[in-house]
């Protein structure tokens, strides 16, 4: 979920909703080193809309802290590459027991924290315990609570025992930062093992990283990285146009793109996105308890026209929660496709032949007000009256997410593999289908990825047919960079932005 775009209410209450399974194939990678000479001591200026709340990802640091620090300052036992593969990082090797419940990790030798201390199994144990601790605010906490026991037979070995099988355990470990167990303050300072150290965080403005000379692996291709934070897309574009930044992590407005596309000084890449815009019904609230009403509303809205309005020629239509880069993707755009006549018929069948009225809780930052306006106009055509109630992201959390006090709402869901939330009847949208819940649980405890994929495909089709939500469209993931840059990530998967391979020509 991305909740931090508006400049005023940019609470960046961020959040990454990943409840997930194994690794999957994504696609392309950033411009690879395109010959020529590049400056080993360059400073790379990155423009972003997502400033961290604090520097700790177990204390509500948010999407911004993942973007700036994940892989750059902190490393996990595994890493999720930009094209979606899980690779070993601080784990040199690992073995899974026959029961699928015991994992033995061997740590890489010679890894040092920025403070100079050697990495040991104690640090790994400490780091895992932080995530599942009572006061942990990590989005990953519930996924990792399957951990029953952590043993450290020697300085380079960690043995984790799970209470039940979890096919996405290793994938989930890509989100766990290995921190120095002796570090004091991780909210305002850092002690990781990554290729950069934190130089300075000027809140409201910028966060700078310096190359760490003692890094265990290949040194970063640039000397210094500065994340510059902006509160709206226009200011961010202006910064790129005036060369104040070299690259924008995620372009949020298509209208500025022509200026970059027709200019040889810039490169525009259209990567794989996992961000979906949802019209989320409260499945517990009338009239959306009725599947026919949900289907009718979904069929009444012309998603294609909305996508074009907001994104011009970019972005994709999806008929479900699953983007093409997830392994269990299926093209379901034909399910509940745009068909106002069918919508009217369904409404009549549901007993709403005279239509009805509902309130749409709309976050007050782009693109939600635009989408809400469009939805209101579309639904008016089938006799449904929409009252738009704009709320701040903070209110959204309290009213919609925690208190479930809503009828329908709009929200962006950022992460890959987040279909599984439909298997949780306690989630804010209140979709409760016993079969779906069982399939999701079975998929997590599956022994093979094929089995997992098969089950989740069923979940996908069932939720789409039920119109559990209306998936309006899939955002494009557009990175715009100066043509002096190469080696930057283009997919920005789950908000990560690895900076260490970026090469900048002098």
């Amino acid at each position: 979920m991305r909740l931090n775009k508006t400049f005023l209410y940019g609470t960046a209450t961020a959040a990454t909703l990943a409840l997930t399974l194994t690794a999957c194939g994504g696609s392309g990678s950033g411009g690879s080193a395109s010959g020529g000479t590049w400056d080993k001591n360059a400073t790379v200026n990155i423009g972003s809309l997502y400033e961290p709340q604090n520097l700790d990802n177990t204390a509500g640091g948010g999407q911004g802290v993942t973007e700036a620090l994940n892989g750059n300052v902190y490393e996990g036992l595994f890493k999720l590459t930009d094209d979606g593969k899980v690779e070993k990082l601080l784990a040199e090797d690992y073995k899974v027991g026959d029961d699928g419940l015991t994992y033995t990790f061997t740590l890489r030798d010679g890894v040092k924290f920025h403070s100079g201390k050697q990495l040991t199994s104690q640090d790994v144990k400490y780091s895992l315990e932080r995530v599942i601790a009572d006061d942990s605010q990590s989005a990953r906490k519930s996924n990792l609570e399957v951990i029953k026991d952590i043993a450290t037979p020697d300085a380079r070995t960690v043995e984790v025992t799970l209470s039940k099988k979890s096919i996405s355990f290793v994938y989930n470990l890509t989100y766990v930062w290995i921190v120095n167990s002796q570090a004091k303050d991780l909210k305002t300072a850092e002690d990781g093992t990554g290729p950069y150290t934190l130089d300075k965080w000027t809140r409201g403005s910028a966060l700078s990283l310096d190359r760490f000379p003692g890094y265990w692996g290949d040194a970063a291709s640039n000397k210094r990285v500065v994340f510059h934070y902006y509160k709206d897309a226009t200011a961010l574009n202006n910064a790129l146009l005036t060369n104040a930044v070299d690259v924008v992590t995620s372009e949020q407005s298509p209208d500025a793109l022509d200026q970059f596309k027709n200019n040889p000084a810039y490169k525009v890449t259209d990567g794989n996105s996992t961000t979906k815009l949802l019209l989320a019904f409260n499945n517990r609230a009338k009239p959306f308890t009725d599947v026919k009403v949900r289907q009718a509303v979904s069929a009444a809205i012309d998603d294609k026209k909305l996508l074009q309005s907001v994104w011009g020629e970019y972005g994709k239509l999806i008929g479900s929660m699953v983007p093409p880069s997830d392994p269990w993707y299926e093209d379901l755009t034909k399910v509940n496709a745009h068909d106002p006549d069918r919508a009217r018929k369904l409404l009549a069948e549901a007993g709403y032949d005279k239509g009805f009225s509902f309130t749409l809780d709309t976050p007050n930052y782009d693109p939600h007000p635009t989408a809400a306006t469009f939805i209101k106009s579309e639904l008016a055509k089938v006799g449904v009256d929409v009252k738009i109630n704009t709320i701040t992201s903070d209110e959204w959390y309290t009213k919609v997410y925690k208190n479930r006090d809503f009828t329908a709402t709009l929200q962006e869901h950022v992460n890959d593999r987040d279909l599984v939330w439909y298997g949780n009847p306690d989630f804010y949208w209140g979709y409760d289908d016993k079969q779906v819940t069982r399939w999701v649980q079975q998929a997590e405890e599956a022994s093979t990825t094929d089995e997992q994929t098969e089950l989740l495909k069923k979940v996908n089709r069932k939720t789409a047919e039920d119109a559990a939500s209306d998936w309006l469209y899939l955002y494009p993931q557009i990175v715009v960079a100066s043509s002096k840059l190469s080696g930057y990530p283009v997919n920005g998967l789950n908000s990560q932005f690895y900076a260490y391979d970026i090469e900048k020509k002098g």
């Binding site: 005023l8 309005s309 809400a372 109630n389 209110e395």
Partner: protein, 292 residues
């Protein structure tokens, strides 16, 4: 120099002291024409719009022409239609805020005007602090408490302005109270409420009306600012401030959306300010008194 000169209201601009009657009425006429045009747009929008408010049939960001006087927005909605609706919201915001400011400001101003000594000083200073209290913070508090609507924005602006009005009224009333005839009326046994109704209000209203006209312009600007920040009327109502915010990203590619609401906003505020200036020249007793 008497005490009353020292107590002159600071927010009260004086017109040329010598007879410039023709210029004053020219100002008034220009102001009425400008503000009248916008008011007319607002009025017409109640009965007729070029396109229905939720008609999205125009192309994405179409330029001016082709059935759309100013072109269309991202969703294909007619910009001129939105500008017309926006003028209605602007006029509503101005009127609403000024009504609230007048109701609270005059009451508070008259009451505080009777204070003496240290209480007087303290009240005066607190009005100053209230004036410096950021409208934005007030608006955020009100919006958080009662959701983002035009009403919330108007309430915030009206409350913020009532401190300004109260300060002015307090000064004006004090000035009247210092006059000999008030003392005379009091010694002859007239009650305070009667004094206020019979002597104070008739003496202060011209200056008050002029100031309220100026506050109208400021309220229109403030509403645009709040809508720009997402704290004004919710979509699909087209407020000028939100139109400007939405058009910001396409300023260079489709400038009509960023220019039209801005220009109308400027015209309305200038119009109202000119009316205030013109009114002052014809109404303000201080000016008249000096001329005599």
């Amino acid at each position: 120099m008497t005490r009353t000169d020292v107590l002159r209201p600071v927010r009260d601009e004086k017109a040329p002291p010598r007879g410039r009657q023709p210029r004053g009425s020219a100002t008034l006429v220009t102001g009425c024409v400008l503000a009248g045009l916008i008011a007319l747009l607002a009025l017409v929008s109640l009965f007729w719009l070029p396109y229905p408010a939720d008609d999205t049939s125009g192309g994405r960001l179409a330029g001016p022409g082709g059935g759309h006087l100013l072109g269309t927005d991202k969703l294909g909605r007619d910009l001129f239609t939105q500008v017309m609706t926006g003028s209605r919201i602007a006029v509503q915001a101005g009127l609403g805020s000024v009504l609230i400011a007048a109701a609270i400001g005059v009451t508070l101003g008259v009451l505080t005007a009777f204070a003496q000594g240290w209480l007087d000083d303290t009240l005066a200073a607190f009005l100053d602090i209230l004036i410096a209290f950021p409208t934005l913070l007030l608006a955020m508090l009100i919006v958080a408490a009662r959701s983002a609507t035009l009403g919330s924005a108007v309430l915030a602006i009206g409350l913020a302005q009532s401190a300004v009005v109260a300060r002015l009224v307090r000064v004006l009333v004090k000035r009247v109270l210092a006059q000999d005839y008030i003392t005379a009326a009091r010694t002859s046994g007239t009650s305070w409420p009667r004094t206020v109704a019979g002597h104070v209000l008739p003496n202060i209203w011209p200056t008050l009306v002029v100031n309220l006209a100026l506050q109208f312009g400021l309220a229109v600007l403030a509403e645009a600012g709040l809508s720009y920040l997402g704290l004004g009327a919710p979509p699909p109502n087209a407020s000028w401030g939100r139109m400007l915010q939405e058009a910001q990203a396409t300023f260079t590619t489709a400038p009509a959306g960023a220019l039209a609401p801005g220009i109308l906003l400027v015209l309305l505020v200038i119009g109202v300010n000119l009316i205030a200036d013109g009114l002052r020249d014809t109404l303000d007793p201080a000016t008249r008194g000096r001329r005599a």
